[in-house]
């Protein structure tokens, strides 16, 4: 992509000394100095992320719920008002166009949040599928900024934020629920959602109020260990939490069940939905499945590295790859390397010893359940 889009908060990040990376045509903060410090802040205190590059699409009208049941893999009609749901936008062949979070934001209204890199296909698919339904699909991505406050201190920070009215509801707000609040003269939608594996909130705010809200949150967070955090820490946080990233764990060539997302597809719901017949047929029985891998030492497997069957004596023959890593890093929280990988199912079922190839060196790998990290229950 040639256009360098920037967030309405861009100048704040420049002033804060952020370094930037291109993400789906957007120049977004990758770090404000130390991605490790940002990662640890979210696990132990709080971090604030600008994720305004995400796409927001509203679906309104009498048929909104029925339309979403047809357009998406989940049963959105079963989502009560002010609840949110993770879902998938499938194509006819069962491949994943995008993974989404949908908020039932008002009576007869849903807010669909898509990945920045899938803005165009998500809007196109939803618009095309609206044919025959009494709904209006509106792309409001340019009108909204999205600020995420994540970490155990998040609630205290929102409650202390000057100008944010309605925070009394936060104490009772459940995970994957949302509530309307006001900031200044405008309304904001606050979801208890996130992409880090910690408690936290995502705040959808008018682009014109975004700078003031960011500043108010940062000011309130000063006493609670809040620091700005970039996409580098966001990636290691979501990886530890076992959350898939589109383009890595998910794609048009991935069936949901391969990614461990079979539960997200509601085959029990009435009526047809796009992708149903392909999903019912299922992927090939030899189709690779997503697993978690851990290794010893400090050298992490990275996206694209091969997974091999290891020989018992630790020496791997020059054999064929039985899988490929889709995301990997040295886990900042756990201290050892973690990775997600697609691996041949027979290898997993037979519990064969595995090794990953890290730039020519075979390192023994253990298959572990996802997520790698789960926050302690309160």
């Amino acid at each position: 992509m040639t256009d360098d889009r920037t967030s309405p908060l861009h100048q704040l990040h420049v002033d804060a000394g952020a370094s930037f990376t291109d993400f789906a045509g957007w120049q977004m903060p990758v770090s404000y100095g130390s991605d490790l410090a940002e990662h640890h802040a979210v696990r132990t205190a709080a971090g604030i992320f600008d994720i305004s590059h995400m796409a927001e699409i509203t679906v309104t009208g009498p048929d909104a719920a029925a339309f979403l049941d047809f357009a998406l893999a989940g049963k959105l009609s079963a989502v009560p008002l002010f609840k949110a749901k993770y879902s998938l936008l499938l194509d006819e062949s069962g491949g994943i166009i995008d993974d989404l979070v949908i908020y039932h934001s008002a009576e007869g209204e849903y807010l669909v949040v898509a990945n920045a890199g899938n803005h165009d296909p998500a809007v196109a698919a939803l618009t095309a599928r609206a044919d025959g339904f009494d709904v209006v699909v509106t792309d409001i991505s340019d009108e909204l900024a999205l600020i995420a406050v994540q970490g155990p201190n998040s609630r205290a920070i929102l409650e202390a934020t000057a100008g944010l009215e309605g925070t009394g509801a936060l104490a009772e707000l459940k995970y994957y629920s949302c509530v309307g609040m006001t900031f200044g003269s405008g309304s904001v939608l606050v979801g208890r959602t996130g992409y880090t594996g910690e408690d936290g909130f995502e705040i959808y705010v008018d682009v014109n109020d975004a700078v003031a809200l960011w500043n108010a949150l940062v000011e309130a967070g000063a006493d609670h260990g809040l620091i700005p955090a970039g996409l580098a820490s966001r990636d290691t946080l979501r990886l530890e939490a076992g959350m898939p990233l589109y383009g890595h764990e998910l794609g048009l060539d991935t069936f949901p069940v391969q990614a461990g997302l079979g539960r997200v597809v509601s085959l029990a719901k009435e009526g047809d939905f796009v992708g149903r017949s392909a999903i019912e047929g299922g992927p090939h029985e030899r189709a690779r499945v997503l697993v978690g891998l851990t290794t010893e030492g400090k050298r992490a497997g990275r996206a694209g590295y091969g997974v091999f069957v290891a020989e018992p004596d630790g020496v791997s023959p020059d054999n064929e790859a039985v899988g490929v890593i889709t995301s990997g890093a040295l886990s900042p929280t756990l201290g050892f390397p973690i990775a997600m990988a697609y691996v041949d199912p027979h290898v997993i079922e037979a519990d064969l010893p595995l090794a990953i190839d890290v730039r020519g060196t075979r390192i023994p790998a253990s298959v572990v359940p996802l997520p790698f990290y789960k926050r302690a229950a309160k």
């Binding site: 410090a37 990662h39 290691t236 400090k298 050298r299 990275r302 890093a329 040295l330 900042p332």
Partner: protein, 123 residues
């Protein structure tokens, strides 16, 4: 720590401090910033013979992997154990305690001056 203007540089974002026939080698602050927080460093062993331009080590951050290229032909006379045990030194003091290896060389190739390197990275 030497003045940055006393150092020589490579296009692979390494710095070289020449003292007699020994070159001390590290990566520049520009390279360290681009990598992000360094979490793993692998260096060649003392006594290893290095061929100029070959990959002799790795500098790995949470998000990517950088390679250490030998800037000169020669023999490794010292590797910085401090940076192996505390890789964050590469970020906190890339031109000082974050040095990587010392190489005894016989002939020095043409390297970049501070002015030339600054122009290369646009600073």
């Amino acid at each position: 720590m030497a003045e940055l203007t006393d150092l020589q540089y490579t296009a692979e974002h390494e710095w070289v401090l020449v003292e007699g026939d020994v070159a001390t080698v590290g990566i520049t602050s520009y390279a360290a910033d681009k990598l992000g927080d360094v979490v793993f460093v692998e260096l060649p062993a003392v006594g290893a013979d290095l061929a100029e331009g070959s990959i002799v080590g790795e500098i790995e951050s949470t998000k990517s992997v950088g390679e250490l290229f030998a800037p000169v032909n020669g023999e490794v006379v010292e590797a910085n154990d401090g940076v192996v045990s505390d890789p964050s030194l590469v970020n906190s003091d890339p031109f000082g305690d974050g040095w990587l290896i010392k190489v005894k060389f016989t002939e020095l190739p043409t390297l970049l001056s501070h002015t030339e390197y600054s122009a290369l990275v646009g600073e």
